[in-house]
């Protein structure tokens, strides 16, 4: 009997103390800052710039330092990269790249193509936002116009290739591509 009474009032005390604890915890959380990051439009810095430096984002090619060795094309396990080369009609000794396509829609960001590149021409950026209305638009053409091919780069011994800072070329291309106007370095969109 006495034990029963103690249990009865013990329950009431439990209710009061646990309510006290619980309510003060939830109220305290209400007064803290939610950890949510309001991506994409209410962030202090571009999210791409806050990512770690070795983040494997969209690939970027600096064709100015590409040797045309096609090591990246061979390394890709799923055939994302498509490179075509040709002789320069004006200068038969000089070979040129007429096509350098990367299908970002297919790429799995494994980084296998980056490893063998002798000059660092192909590299991962920290960009990840490139949504397009059509998946075909995700084929990024690093040589936009086959009529204006890019000559092979010849590495100089004992000297690093003068590669542009990683990310800058891609960012410029993406910024040029507003939501309404299609960027020039993307292929024509298929009519849906």
């Amino acid at each position: 009997m006495a034990q029963g009474i103690r249990a009865y009032f013990g329950h009431i005390t439990d209710v009061v103390t646990t309510f006290w604890e619980g309510l003060s915890v939830t109220l305290s959380y209400m007064l803290r800052r939610p950890i949510t990051v309001q991506y994409p439009d209410r962030v202090e810095k571009r999210v791409a710039d806050t990512l770690p430096p070795r983040y494997r984002g969209i690939l970027e090619v600096d064709t100015a330092v590409c040797t045309g060795c096609m090591a990246c094309e061979r390394a890709c396990p799923i055939g994302v990269i498509k490179i075509s080369t040709d002789k320069d009609p004006g200068n038969p000794k000089q070979r040129v790249i007429t096509q350098f396509d990367i299908d970002v829609g297919k790429c799995m960001f494994c980084g296998l193509c980056v490893e063998p590149c002798p000059t660092g021409a192909i590299a991962h950026t920290r960009e990840f936002e490139a949504t397009r209305k059509h998946v075909d638009s995700l084929v990024f053409r690093w040589v936009p116009d086959p009529a204006k091919p890019v000559p092979f780069y010849r590495p100089v011994k004992g000297q690093d290739a003068p590669r542009a800072p990683v990310g800058e070329i891609l960012r410029r291309c993406l910024a040029a591509a507003s939501w309404i106007e299609r960027p020039s370095f993307l292929p024509e969109e298929r009519k849906p």
């Binding site: 309510l23 939830t26 305290s28 959380y29 939610p34 949510t36 309404i180």
Partner: protein, 460 residues
């Protein structure tokens, strides 16, 4: 140039930020204020004598002797009802937004913050979405009852507004059995729950309906007895009479005037939470086991009615507790004679009277919103109780406790002199302030316990 529905062009409120702020301000303050003012202008005139007098004085028309008088009276009542119904809808909507934002912050998230300024218009968007949805009725359901059930709930929600005093003069009618009427009418909600559970012809809905019935029937008892405590203290069942028996200052509220009423306040609030199916007593719609309980089969506008009833019921629960225990609309420092003095003797009262009335409505609204916030806060703190716990809480704790409070109040009313009551008022108010201060300190300590955390209301 092609027009695309991209990220930037979908949201009207992002394109016109000023428009969004204006719309939000209008919906958040203009609309309720308009309804309050309309209520203040219309509710006090809502008697045949006043209508007769107005028609006599301004139109020179003898309404009392006219054959059309009942048409006029009915039209007037419909106007009153229109204001009340709109008020419940607006409150129900706004409270969903408040609840979602509060819940979000309590869980370290943000909650809906896109439509309108601070996401305030999300409740409008929700309502529009609900209304546009298809109203499906299961083939095997009892069609008539299925269609009718939401209106039972809605009637149960709206009926208590007849006697709920918003201000000194702003009440539709002051029945002499007001408390009794509210207790009886608000139980109508459960008829809707039971009928919808039955008519859906679904096991989840049926379980929800039966649970709702068991719960409401059990909790009617402690709620009713706890509500008797202020009735005993005021000596009347009329809601306005109970408010008039209290005062504006906290130590003149019934909750602090007698220790039994203090306990009865908590019993009444708990029991009304259970009656309103609010968490931790939301067994009739327990998502984890019953899908959505009694409204599992509903969609579209009928579902919107059920949800509106659920949220707007908070206003009834909180308003009732404020009226019975927390001094209702009483403005500190103004007594009954001030209202009478400002009212004057003419047909239309002085402007000062309207100011005082608005002030008294403001008191009521602020207190009620504070209590609604407590309900929301409880919901996002406590887990749902089990069915057996719900029953044992009612029958083993609340019912005996309510009876005890009832008896103690009887003895208290007989034995304690007014000076003793006044002293208890001061003492209990001081105690409550002390407890609140301790609570604030405990909350503050919870925040500073985590390294790097501090009070920060940013990131809206």
């Amino acid at each position: 140039m092609r027009i695309t529905l991209g990220l930037d062009s979908t949201s009207l409120s992002r394109r016109y930020p000023r428009l969004a702020i204006l719309a939000t301000l209008f919906m958040a303050f203009g609309l309720p204020l308009g309804l309050y003012v309309a209520a203040l202008a219309v509710f006090p005139l809502n008697t045949p004598e006043r209508l007769d007098a107005m028609a006599e004085q301004w139109l020179g028309y003898d309404l009392a002797g006219s054959p059309y008088r009942y048409i006029v009276y009915t039209a007037f009542l419909l106007l009153v009802a229109f204001i009340a119904v709109n008020y419940t809808a607006v409150f129900g909507g706004v409270s969903t937004w408040v609840e979602r934002r509060v819940a979000g912050r309590m869980q370290s998230r943000i909650g809906p913050n896109r439509p309108g300024a601070a996401g305030f218009l999300s409740w409008v968007a929700d309502a529009v979405k609900m209304i546009l949805k298809e109203d499906t009725i299961p083939a095997e359901a009892d069609h008539l009852l299925f269609r009718a059930a939401p209106y039972f709930s809605m009637v149960g929600l709206l009926l208590p507004f007849v006697v709920l005093p918003f201000g000194e003069a702003t009440v539709v009618t002051d029945m002499n059995v007001g408390v009794f009427y509210v207790a009886a009418a608000s139980a109508f909600v459960v008829v809707g729950i039971l009928v919808s559970g039955w008519a859906s012809n679904s096991k989840w809905a049926l379980f929800g309906g039966i649970r709702g019935a068991a719960q409401v029937m059990s909790y009617e008892i402690p709620a009713g007895i706890a509500m008797m405590v202020p009735v005993l203290m005021a000596g009347t069942l009329s809601m306005q009479g109970i408010v008039r028996a209290q005062g504006g200052w906290p130590w003149q509220w019934f909750v602090f005037q007698n220790p039994a009423a203090f306990v009865a306040f908590f019993i009444a609030v708990t029991a009304s939470l259970a009656e309103g199916n609010r968490t931790p007593f939301d067994l009739p719609e327990a998502e984890s086991e019953l899908v959505a309980g009694y409204h599992a089969e509903y969609s579209g506008f009928r579902l919107a009615i059920f949800l509106m009833v659920e949220w707007a019921n908070m206003w009834i629960m909180a308003g009732l507790a404020v009226t019975l225990f927390l001094g209702g609309w009483q403005v500190p420092g103004y007594g009954a004679e001030d209202y009478a003095r400002l009212l004057g003797t003419g047909l239309l009262p002085a402007p000062g009277w309207f100011g005082l009335q608005l002030l008294s409505m403001l008191m009521f609204v602020v207190k009620t919103w504070a209590l609604v916030f407590v309900f929301i806060w409880l919901r996002w703190t406590l887990p749902r109780v089990r069915v057996d716990q719900m029953m044992s809480l009612c029958w083993k704790y609340l019912v005996p406790g309510a009876f005890l409070c009832f008896v103690v109040t009887l003895v208290w009313q007989l034995l304690v002199p007014p000076a003793g009551v006044a002293f208890t008022g001061y003492a209990l108010t001081a105690l409550a302030l002390f407890v609140l201060a301790k609570f604030a300190v405990a909350t503050r300590r919870n925040i500073s316990k985590v390294a790097g955390h501090r009070v920060d209301l940013g990131n809206w």
